[in-house]
C-alpha cells in the first residue's frame, strides 16, 4: 500500500516535471494566412523542429484571413501575399517583412501549343481578361506569335473565385499594363471580373484550364511546373521575351529597391531588367509592433531568422526565390527599430 502510494507520487512528480520541461523548451509558434507560401513554411517548420524542438502551427486560410487574424491579435504572426501600405500598418499597429518571392504565370489550353510556345504581353493579357479579345487568332495575339498557327477558337477565361493573393498579384500587374483595367476593374485579392468563370484555388483553376479547350488562366509557378501546365512566355518591362524560371524571378527581385520601401511595401510586378519575369511578387509576414505575448513573438522572429539563414536551399527546391542577404540585413534592422517590448527596447534583432 505504502509502496504504491510512493510510486504514484513519484509518477506524478515525473509527469509534472516532464510537462514543465517540455513547456519550457518546446514552444509552439502560431501563424495563419496566405496559401501560396504554405509549402515552404511547412518545410522550414519541419526542419526547425528537429534542431530546436519548437513547432510551428500555420493555418493556410488565405491572405485576407491572415491580415484579419493578426489585426485581431489571435495569432503571433499573419501571412499575406498582399502587403499592407505603410498607412495601413500604422493604423493597425503592425510590422511587416517579406519572406520569399515567387512568380505567377498565365497558363493556356490550346491544341498543339506546348509550354513556352505562346508569347503574350501585358496589354494583350489585359485585353483578353477584359473580354475585348475573344478569339485566339486575334490580330494582337498573332502579332506576338508570328510563327504559330492559332485556331479561330473562343477564349475561355478562368480566374480564381476565392479571394487570393495570386489574384492580387495578377490584377496588380494588369492594372500597371492597362489603364482601362486599372479604371474599370482595379487590383485586389478579389475583383469584379468582367468575364470568365471562377474556380476555387490554384487546383480549381488548373483543373478548369486543363479540361476546357481554348482556355486561359493564371496560377503560381510552382503549381504550373508540378502539374506540367502549358505556361506562356511574357514580354517584360524592357521589351524582352522571357520564360518563367527561377532565374527570371530572381532577376525581377534583384532590381527591387527594398531599402527605400517603407514597411517593405513593395510589389514586384513589371520590374525593369532584361531577364525579369514581369509577374513576380514577394509574400509577407505581419506581426504586432507591441506584442502582448513577447515570448511568443521572440520565438516567431527566431524562427524566421533561422529560415533566412538556413532555408534558402529548401526554398529553391520548392521553386521559391529566397530573399537576398542584403534584404535580410534590412529586415534585421527593421525588427530592431519597430518590434518592441513594453519597456520600449527591441525584443529581437537577429543573429546575423
Amino acid at each position: 500500500m505504502n509502496l504504491s502510494v510512493k510510486a504514484i507520487r513519484l509518477l506524478a512528480v515525473g509527469v509534472a516535471a516532464a510537462g514543465f520541461v517540455s513547456a519550457a523548451s518546446a514552444a509552439e509558434i502560431s501563424g495563419a494566412g496566405a496559401t501560396f507560401p504554405y509549402p515552404i513554411y511547412a518545410k522550414w517548420a519541419d526542419a526547425y523542429k528537429q534542431i530546436s524542438g519548437n513547432s510551428l502551427n500555420y493555418q493556410s486560410i488565405g491572405s485576407g484571413g491572415g491580415i484579419k487574424q493578426i489585426t485581431a491579435n489571435t495569432v503571433t504572426f499573419g501571412a499575406s501575399d498582399k502587403p499592407l501600405t505603410p498607412e495601413e500598418l500604422d493604423k493597425a499597429g503592425l510590422a511587416q517583412f517579406p519572406t520569399v518571392m515567387g512568380g505567377v504565370v498565365p497558363v493556356v489550353n490550346l491544341e498543339g501549343i506546348n509550354p513556352g510556345d505562346l508569347v503574350l504581353d501585358g496589354p494583350t493579357l489585359a485585353d483578353i481578361f477584359l473580354g475585348k479579345i475573344t478569339k485566339w487568332d486575334d490580330a494582337a495575339i498573332k502579332k506576338l506569335n508570328p510563327s504559330l498557327t492559332l485556331p479561330s477558337q473562343a477564349i475561355a477565361i478562368v480566374h480564381r473565385s476565392d479571394g487570393s493573393g495570386t489574384s492580387f498579384i495578377f490584377t496588380n500587374y494588369l492594372s500597371k499594363m492597362s489603364k482601362e483595367w486599372a479604371d474599370s476593374v482595379g487590383s485586389n485579392t478579389a475583383v469584379q471580373w468582367p468575364t470568365g468563370i471562377g474556380a476555387k484555388g490554384n487546383e480549381g483553376v488548373a483543373a478548369n484550364v486543363g479540361q476546357t479547350g481554348g482556355s486561359i488562366g493564371y496560377v503560381e509557378y510552382a503549381y504550373a511546373k508540378q502539374n506540367k501546365l502549358t505556361f506562356t512566355k511574357m514580354v517584360n518591362h524592357d521589351g524582352q521575351t522571357v520564360a518563367p524560371t527561377a532565374d527570371a524571378f530572381t532577376a525581377a527581385a534583384a532590381g527591387a529597391d527594398w531599402g527605400s520601401a517603407k514597411g517593405f511595401y513593395m510589389i514586384l510586378t513589371d520590374q525593369p531588367g532584361a531577364q525579369s519575369w514581369p509577374i513576380t511578387a514577394a509574400t509577407f509576414i505581419m506581426m504586432q509592433r507591441r506584442p502582448t505575448d513577447q515570448a511568443a513573438s521572440i520565438e516567431a522572429l527566431k524562427f524566421f531568422d533561422w529560415a533566412y539563414a538556413n532555408g534558402d536551399q529548401m526554398a529553391s527546391d520548392l521553386d521559391y526565390i529566397p530573399m537576398p542577404d542584403s534584404v535580410v540585413k534590412l529586415i534585421h534592422a527593421y525588427w530592431k527599430e519597430s518590434i518592441k517590448g513594453s519597456t520600449g527596447t527591441a525584443i529581437y534583432s537577429g543573429s546575423m
Binding site: 486560410i61 488565405g62 491572405s63 485576407g64 484571413g65 491580415i67 484579419k68 473562343a154 475561355a156 473565385s161 476565392d162 479571394g163 487570393s164 476593374v185 482595379g186 487590383s187 485586389n188 485579392t189 478579389a190 475583383v191 469584379q192 471580373w193 468575364t195 470568365g196 468563370i197 471562377g198 474556380a199 476555387k200 480549381g204 483543373a207 478548369n208 479540361q211 476546357t212 481554348g214
Partner: protein
C-alpha cells in the same frame, strides 16, 4: 430512515395511499416530461431568433450603406466597395428552379414505380440506392460534377443544345455562349441529383401509407393504374409529397460546396443558363475568409440574411398553398 417511514405507511389505509402516491409520482414525471419537451420545442424558436438577430446585426453596416438598392444592384466589386445581391439571388433561385423542374417529376416517378409497379426483387436494391444518394457528402458531388459531369456536358450536351436552339428566337439566348462545361445548368443538374433522394424517400413512404382499400375500390370501379395513381394516390398523399418537395427545395436553396465547384462563380446575370453564375451560399463560402474590409464582410452576412428570408418565404408560401388546397378539397 426506511424504518421510520414504514409504520406511517402501514397506519394509513394501504391501497388508497399507495395509489395516491403513485398517481402523484406519475403526474410529477408527466409534468417533468411535459416541461422537457416544451423546452426542446421552444429552444428551436430561441435559436432561430438568435440566428436572425445576429444576422441582422452583422448585416446592418452594409444595409445601412446600400439601403434597399442592395437587393437589385448587380455590381459586386470588392475594389471599390460596391456590393449588390442581385446576381447571387438570381443564381440561387434559378439553380433551385432547374433542380426542382428535373427532380420533382423524376422523384415522384421513382416513388410510383417503387410502390406500385416494381417487381419485389428490385424494390429493395433500388430503394437502398436512392437512400445512399442522400448520404453522399456534397463535396463528393462537387468533385464528381467538376471532373466527370462537366466535361461530358461540355463535349456533348452543351454544343448540341447551342446548335439545335441556335435559330430558335428565345431559346437561342437561353442556350448561348461558349460551352464551359460548368455553369448554371450544370449546378442545377447536380442539385437535382442531390435533392432526388429527399423527394423519392418521402414520397415513397407517403404512397405506401395510402390505404389499400382506397386503391382497390378505384380498381374495382375499373380505373387504370395511371388513373389510380393520378386521381387517388397522389391527391391522398399530396401533403406528404409537398413536404418532401419543400425539404428538397430547402436543400437546393442552401447547398454550398457542390454548387461552388460547378457554377463558375461569376457575379453576373446572363440570359444563358450555360453561362457561369453564382449563388448566395457559394459567394459566402468563396469569399468570407478573404473579406478584409468591414463593408465586404457585412455584405456577405447580408447575403446570408437574404437567404434566410428567401427560405422563410418559400416555406411560408408552401404552407399557404397547402392550406388553400385543403380548403378547396375539404370545403
Amino acid at each position: 430512515m426506511s424504518e421510520a417511514a414504514m409504520p406511517q405507511y402501514s397506519a394509513a389505509p394501504p391501497m388508497d395511499s399507495s395509489r395516491l402516491a403513485a398517481a402523484r409520482r406519475f403526474s410529477r414525471k408527466d409534468h417533468f416530461f411535459h416541461r422537457l419537451t416544451q423546452t426542446s420545442a421552444l429552444a428551436v424558436l430561441g435559436i432561430l431568433v438568435g440566428v436572425m438577430v445576429s444576422l441582422v446585426i452583422g448585416a446592418a453596416p452594409a444595409l445601412g450603406t446600400f439601403g434597399f438598392g442592395f437587393l437589385w444592384n448587380e455590381s459586386w466589386n470588392p475594389v471599390t466597395g460596391q456590393f449588390g445581391a442581385l446576381a447571387p439571388i438570381y443564381g440561387t433561385l434559378l439553380t433551385s428552379a432547374i433542380a426542382m423542374i428535373i427532380a420533382v417529376p423524376i422523384g415522384i416517378g421513382i416513388a410510383t414505380f417503387l410502390t406500385e409497379l416494381c417487381p419485389p426483387v428490385l424494390r429493395r436494391p433500388v430503394g437502398i440506392a436512392i437512400e445512399l444518394l442522400a448520404g453522399v457528402p456534397s463535396i463528393i458531388y462537387g468533385i464528381w460534377g467538376l471532373f466527370v459531369l462537366a466535361p461530358i456536358l461540355q463535349t456533348t450536351v452543351q454544343p448540341w443544345l447551342i446548335e439545335i436552339f441556335g435559330s430558335v428566337p428565345v431559346l437561342n439566348s437561353i442556350f448561348a455562349g461558349p460551352p464551359y462545361g460548368i455553369g448554371v445548368l450544370t449546378a442545377g443538374l447536380i442539385l437535382a441529383i442531390m435533392v432526388l433522394p429527399f423527394i423519392t424517400s418521402v414520397t415513397r413512404d407517403v404512397f405506401d401509407a395510402v390505404p389499400p382499400m382506397l386503391k382497390e375500390s378505384a380498381y374495382g370501379l375499373g380505373c387504370t393504374r395511371r388513373e389510380v395513381m393520378w386521381k387517388v394516390v397522389l391527391p391522398y398523399a399530396r401533403v406528404g409529397v409537398t413536404g418532401g418537395i419543400m425539404l428538397a427545395l430547402g436543400r437546393a436553396l442552401g447547398e454550398t460546396m457542390a454548387v461552388t465547384f460547378v457554377i463558375g462563380n461569376a457575379h453576373r446575370i446572363s440570359a444563358s443558363i450555360l453561362a457561369p453564375g453564382t449563388t448566395i451560399s457559394a459567394s459566402i463560402a468563396n469569399e468570407f475568409t478573404e473579406a478584409v474590409e468591414d463593408i465586404y464582410t457585412s455584405s456577405l452576412i447580408s447575403l446570408g440574411l437574404i437567404l434566410f428570408i428567401i427560405t422563410f418565404i418559400v416555406l411560408a408560401l408552401a404552407r399557404y398553398m397547402l392550406l388553400r388546397i385543403e380548403r378547396k378539397t375539404g370545403g
